[in-house]
C-alpha cells in the first residue's frame, strides 16, 4: 500500500486561521479517512465552524495545508470545491428560503448529477418533500427544512460531506432521525465530517471524534475513549 492510497479524503495539517488580527485556529490537524464518519466536537467558540469554513474554502487559512483527496487545495474557491464533489451543509438551515423545494434541489446539480437523479433520490428518501416540491422552502417546518438540506447531501453522492450543527433548534426525535440518515449516507461509502456542539447526538454514528477547545485540537480518537476529554472541554476541568 503506497502512502497515496492511504491518503485521507480530507486532511487539515497545522492550519491557522484568523479574523482580522485575531487568530482563532492555532495550528489544528485533523483527518477524515475514506468512508468514515468523523465528529468534530467542542464547546461554543472552540473554532469548529471556522475549521469547517477553511476546509470548504470559505475562509482562508493563514498557515498550514488543506488537502482534499491528496491535493493541496488552499486557495481553492468554495464553488470550485463544491463542483468537485465536496458537499457542505452549513450552520442553520442550509436551504434557499425563497426558492421552492424543487428549485433548491435543482441548485444541487452543479456537481454534475442530473436533475432527475437528484429529485428521485431526495423524494424517495423523503416522500414528504416530494409532496411539497412546489412549496417555498422558507414555509416548511424546521425539521423539513433540515431534511431538504440533508437531502442535497444524499442526492449528489459527494466524495466528502461536511455538516455543521445539524441538530440546531430541532426536536431530539428529528435529530435522531437525521443522524440515522447520515449513517446511511456513510454506509454507502461517503466520508463525512460532522460538526456538533452537543456530543451525545452524534457519537452514536461517528467512527472517530476530534475534540477542539480554544482553537486547538485537544483530543482525537475513537469516541468511547474520549469521554474524559469531552467533559474537560465542556465543563472546564483542567486536562
Amino acid at each position: 500500500m503506497t502512502p497515496i492510497e492511504a491518503a485521507p479524503v480530507l486532511e487539515l495539517r497545522d492550519v491557522r486561521a484568523a479574523y482580522g488580527r485575531i487568530e482563532v485556529l492555532h495550528g489544528i490537524s485533523l483527518q477524515v479517512p475514506a468512508g468514515k464518519v468523523v465528529a468534530l466536537l467542542g464547546p461554543n467558540g472552540a473554532g469548529k465552524t471556522t475549521a469547517l469554513k477553511v476546509a470548504t474554502g470559505q475562509h482562508p487559512a493563514t498557515a498550514g495545508h488543506v488537502h482534499v483527496g491528496g491535493r493541496h487545495v488552499n486557495g481553492c474557491r468554495p464553488d470550485a470545491l463544491a463542483r468537485l464533489g465536496v458537499c457542505t451543509i452549513p450552520e442553520g438551515r442550509g436551504i434557499f428560503r425563497n426558492l421552492t423545494v424543487r428549485e433548491n434541489l435543482r441548485m444541487a446539480t452543479y456537481g454534475g448529477t442530473s436533475e432527475s437523479v437528484v429529485l428521485d433520490r431526495a423524494f424517495h428518501r423523503f416522500p414528504r418533500l416530494g409532496d411539497r416540491r412546489n412549496q417555498l422552502a422558507g414555509t416548511l417546518s424546521g425539521g423539513e427544512q433540515q431534511m431538504l438540506a440533508v437531502a442535497r447531501g444524499l442526492a449528489v453522492d459527494p466524495a466528502l460531506l461536511l455538516i455543521d450543527e445539524l441538530s440546531m433548534g430541532l426536536a431530539p426525535l428529528i435529530v435522531a432521525e437525521l443522524y440515522e440518515l447520515v449513517a446511511a449516507i456513510a454506509a454507502e461509502g461517503v466520508s463525512v465530517l460532522v460538526v456538533e456542539q452537543f456530543a451525545r447526538t452524534v457519537l452514536g454514528v461517528a467512527d472517530l471524534a476530534v475534540v477542539m477547545q480554544h482553537g486547538n485540537v485537544v483530543a482525537s480518537g475513537v469516541p468511547s475513549d474520549l469521554q474524559a476529554e469531552l467533559s474537560a472541554a465542556y465543563f472546564g476541568a483542567s486536562a
Binding site: Q58, P60, R71, N74, D79
Partner: protein, 692 residues
C-alpha cells in the same frame, strides 16, 4: 361606450410601456437584491447610444446593426461593468448605502449623458419604428393600425408585443432554467449558492448584464414615443417604480397587472381629468404615477426579505463634546464674517447657496444618521418652508420663520404618519413619491412661485440691517451653528439615545417599552422643520424661489444629489452635512473656474455617490480615521513594539488547486486511481460552471 373602448386600447398600449420598464427593474431586484434606482438612467443612456449609432446626424448605421450593437454588446457590457466596479461591493452593505449608491449611478449617468450629448447642441430625436420618413407620399394608414376605432402606430403594437414576450420569457428564464434559479439563489443566500457550486460573482454579473439589456430595450422603445431627453426619460422609469411595487418587486405577473392599472389610470385621467370636481384637481397625468406609488407602498405588505440580507448599519456616530461643537460653530460664523471680503459675485452667491443647502442637509443627520430613517424628500420639505416664507414672510419678518418651523414640522409628521411601518427601501421610495408629489402638485399652485419668481425677503431684525450679503451669510452660518450644536447635543441626550436604539433594533425597543410611533413622528417633525428653515433661508439668500430649486431631479441643484452628497460627506456628523451642502453648490463653481475639468465636475456628485460603495462611513469619518491612523502610526513607530501585520487578503486568489500529493510527490496515475476510488472529479473544478 366608444370612449371607454378608446381608453381601454390606449391603456393597454401605455401599460405595455410601463410593463417593459418595470420588468427590468424586477429582474435586477430579484437577481441582485439591489433596487436599481439607475434603471431609468441606463435606459436613457442606451437610447442615446442607439441614437448615436442609428441617427442620420451621427453614425447612420442600419437599424438591425444598431439594435444588435446596443442590446447585444453595449448594454450587457455596461451592466457587467456596473456589477464589477460598483454593485459587487454592496451585497453586505448597510441599507442606506444600498440605496444611495444606485442613486449616485443615476445622477452620474444623467450628467454623463448631458456632457456627451449636450441638450443645447445635439438635437437628438428617435423616430418610431416603421415610421415613414416625413414628406413621403404615403397616407397615415400605412403606418397605423385601427383597433376598435382607435388608431395605433405599428410602434405601439411592437411595444405591446415586446412587453408581452419579455414578461413571458423572463418568467420562464427565472423559474425554469438553472441559471435563472441560480440568480435568485444568489440573492437568497450567497454563501450557500457557492457551497452548491454556483459561481456567485459570475451569476450576479450576468444578472446585471440582463437587467441592463432590458433597460436598454425599454429605453429604445420608449424614447421615440416620449422624447430623447436625459431627465424625462429617466423620470418615466421612475413612474414604473409604482408598477414594479405592485408585484413587491418580485412577481412579474403582478407587475404586468400593475402596468395595466397605471395605464388605465393615466389614460382615464387624460380623458376625464377635467371633469373632476375642483377639490380633486391635483389629480393629473403627472401625479397619478406618484400617487399610485404612494398608495401601493402603503397597501402592499412590506416584503420582509427586503430587510434581510442587508447588513446592519455599523457606521459610527461621532459624539463631539459641547465645547468642541460650540467652538466649531463659532469658527463657522467667523468664517462667514471674513469670506465676503475675499469672495464676490457669483462665487459668493454659491457659497451662500451651499450654506443654505447645508442646513437642509443637516436635517438628514438626526433622521438618517441617528434614527436610520431614510428620506429622499428633504429638499421638498425645504420647498414647503420657502412657500410658507413666500406667503407670510416675504418682507423678511423673522416671526415668519416660526410659521415655517410649525408648518414644516406638521407636514413632516403628517407624511410620517402613513409611512410609520415602512423601513429601508420602502421608506425611501415613499418619501420620494411625496417629494415628487410636492413638486408636481403643490409647488405649482402658488402664483409667481410656480414660475420661479416667488419673491422672498432676507431676514431683518428691528433696528438692525441684515440685508447685505455679509450679514445674511452670517445669519445663515449662525443658524447652522445653533442647529448643529443642538443636533450634536441631541445625540448625547435621552432623545438621541432613543433614536440610536430605534436604528439598532426596533424589536428590542418595543420590548423595552419604547413608543416607536411617537419617536418616529418626533424625528420626522424635527427633521422637516430644520429642512424648512433651510429652504426659507435659501429663498431669502436668492431673493426669489420656485419649484426648480426644490425639485428631486430637475433644475440646477436637485434633491437627489443633495441626499447623495450629505451621505458622502458623512451622514452621522454635522460637519458632513456642511461639507455635503457646500460641495453641491461649489462643484459647478470649480468647473467654471477651471474649464478643462468642467465636465468632470458635472459628473462629480454622482461619482462621489458611487464611491460610497468603497467607504460607506463618508468623507468626514474617512478623513478623521486617516488622521487618527497617522497619529497612531507615529506613536507606534516611537514605541517600535508593534504587533503582527494583518494577513494578506489574496490567499484565496488561486482557483485551480495544485497537484501536490500528500506524503511525497505522487504520479498522475496514482492520483487518478485515488480520484476514481473516492469519486472525485477534478475535471469539474475548472470547467464551465454556470451554463450547462
Amino acid at each position: 361606450m366608444r370612449d371607454l373602448l378608446t381608453v381601454l386600447v390606449l391603456a393597454l398600449s401605455s401599460g405595455a410601456i410601463y410593463a417593459l420598464a418595470a420588468s427590468g427593474l424586477v429582474v435586477t431586484y430579484t437577481t441582485s437584491g439591489i433596487f436599481n434606482f439607475a434603471h431609468g438612467a441606463i435606459a436613457m443612456f442606451a437610447a442615446f447610444m442607439y441614437w448615436q449609432l442609428r441617427s442620420g446626424d451621427a453614425w447612420h448605421l442600419p437599424a438591425p446593426v444598431a439594435l444588435l450593437l446596443v442590446l447585444g454588446v453595449f448594454a450587457p457590457a455596461l451592466g457587467y461593468a456596473i456589477d464589477r466596479l460598483i454593485m459587487r461591493r454592496l451585497h453586505d452593505a448597510s441599507p442606506i448605502t444600498r440605496i444611495v449608491v444606485p442613486i449616485g449611478l443615476l445622477v452620474a449617468l444623467i450628467q454623463l449623458a448631458s456632457v456627451i450629448w449636450p441638450p443645447d447642441r445635439v438635437n437628438a430625436t428617435l423616430h418610431l419604428f416603421f415610421e415613414k420618413p416625413k414628406g413621403s407620399a404615403s397616407n397615415a394608414s400605412a403606418t397605423t393600425l385601427s383597433i376598435g376605432g382607435v388608431h395605433l402606430t405599428y410602434h405601439q403594437v411592437i411595444v405591446f408585443v415586446v412587453a408581452l414576450v419579455v414578461a413571458l420569457a423572463l418568467r420562464l428564464f427565472l423559474y425554469r432554467t438553472r441559471t435563472g434559479i441560480a440568480m435568485r439563489a444568489v440573492v437568497d443566500n450567497r454563501d450557500l449558492a457557492a457551497l452548491n457550486g454556483a459561481d456567485a460573482d459570475r451569476v450576479s454579473s450576468m444578472s446585471w448584464a440582463l437587467g441592463s439589456m432590458l433597460a436598454a430595450l425599454a429605453g429604445i422603445l420608449i424614447a421615440p414615443i416620449l422624447a430623447l431627453d436625459q431627465v424625462q426619460l429617466t423620470l418615466l422609469v421612475i413612474n414604473a417604480y409604482a408598477v414594479a411595487m405592485v408585484g413587491k418587486l418580485r412577481s412579474l405577473p403582478l407587475t404586468v397587472v400593475g402596468a395595466l392599472i397605471l395605464g388605465l389610470a393615466i389614460e382615464s385621467t387624460k380623458k376625464y381629468g377635467n371633469h373632476l370636481p375642483h377639490a380633486f384637481n391635483w389629480i393629473t397625468v403627472d401625479t397619478v404615477p406618484v400617487l399610485m406609488l404612494f398608495i401601493v407602498l402603503l397597501v402592499v405588505p412590506q416584503d420582509r426579505e427586503s430587510l434581510i440580507g442587508a447588513a446592519r448599519d455599523r457606521t459610527r456616530v461621532p459624539m463631539p463634546t459641547v465645547a468642541h461643537a460650540v467652538l466649531a460653530g463659532a469658527g463657522l460664523v467667523a468664517a462667514a464674517v471674513i469670506v465676503p471680503s475675499f469672495v464676490h459675485g457669483n462665487a459668493l452667491g454659491s457659497v451662500g447657496y451651499g450654506l443654505a443647502l447645508a442646513i437642509v442637509a443637516l436635517s438628514l443627520v438626526p433622521l438618517i444618521g441617528f434614527a436610520g430613517q431614510i428620506s429622499l424628500a428633504q429638499l421638498g420639505f425645504a420647498g414647503v418652508g420657502a412657500v410658507v416664507m413666500f406667503k407670510v414672510g416675504a418682507d423678511g419678518n423673522p416671526l415668519a420663520l416660526l410659521a415655517v418651523i410649525v408648518v414644516c414640522a406638521a407636514v413632516g409628521a403628517l407624511v410620517a404618519l402613513p409611512v410609520l411601518r415602512l423601513r429601508g427601501l420602502y421608506l425611501a421610495l415613499a418619501t420620494m413619491a411625496f417629494a415628487l408629489f410636492l413638486e408636481k402638485a403643490v409647488f405649482t399652485r402658488f402664483d409667481k412661485f410656480k414660475d420661479g419668481d416667488g419673491a422672498i425677503g432676507r431676514i431683518r431684525l428691528p433696528g438692525l440691517s441684515l440685508r447685505s450679503d455679509r450679514a445674511n451669510l452670517v445669519v445663515m452660518a449662525f443658524v447652522f451653528a445653533v442647529i448643529g450644536v443642538g443636533v450634536a447635543e441631541l445625540r448625547r441626550g435621552p432623545f438621541g439615545r432613543r433614536l440610536q436604539a430605534m436604528k439598532d433594533s426596533p424589536a428590542a425597543c418595543t420590548t423595552l417599552g419604547l413608543d416607536l410611533t411617537r419617536t418616529k413622528l418626533q424625528i420626522f417633525a424635527l427633521s422637516s422643520a430644520i429642512a424648512g428653515l433651510g429652504g426659507a433661508l435659501l429663498g431669502g439668500w436668492r431673493g426669489k424661489a420656485g419649484p426648480e430649486q426644490f425639485s428631486l431631479l430637475q433644475g440646477a441643484l436637485p434633491g437627489l444629489p443633495l441626499v447623495l452628497l450629505a451621505v458622502v460627506g458623512g451622514i452621522t456628523a454635522v460637519a458632513g452635512a456642511l461639507l455635503g451642502g457646500l460641495l453641491l453648490a461649489l462643484m459647478p463653481l470649480v468647473g467654471d473656474a477651471v474649464p478643462t475639468i468642467r465636465n468632470l465636475m458635472t459628473v462629480a456628485p454622482g461619482l462621489a455617490g458611487i464611491s460610497l460603495a468603497r467607504n460607506p462611513s463618508g468623507a468626514v469619518a474617512q478623513m478623521s480615521d486617516n488622521v487618527r491612523a497617522l497619529l497612531f502610526r507615529r506613536r507606534r513607530d516611537d514605541d517600535s513594539g508593534a504587533d503582527g501585520e494583518e494577513p494578506p487578503d489574496d490567499l484565496r486568489a488561486r482557483l485551480v488547486p495544485e497537484l501536490v500529493g500528500v506524503g511525497g510527490p505522487a504520479s498522475a496515475a496514482e492520483l487518478r486511481a485515488l480520484d476514481d476510488e473516492l469519486g472525485l472529479s477534478w475535471g469539474r473544478c475548472d470547467g464551465d460552471p454556470a451554463d450547462q
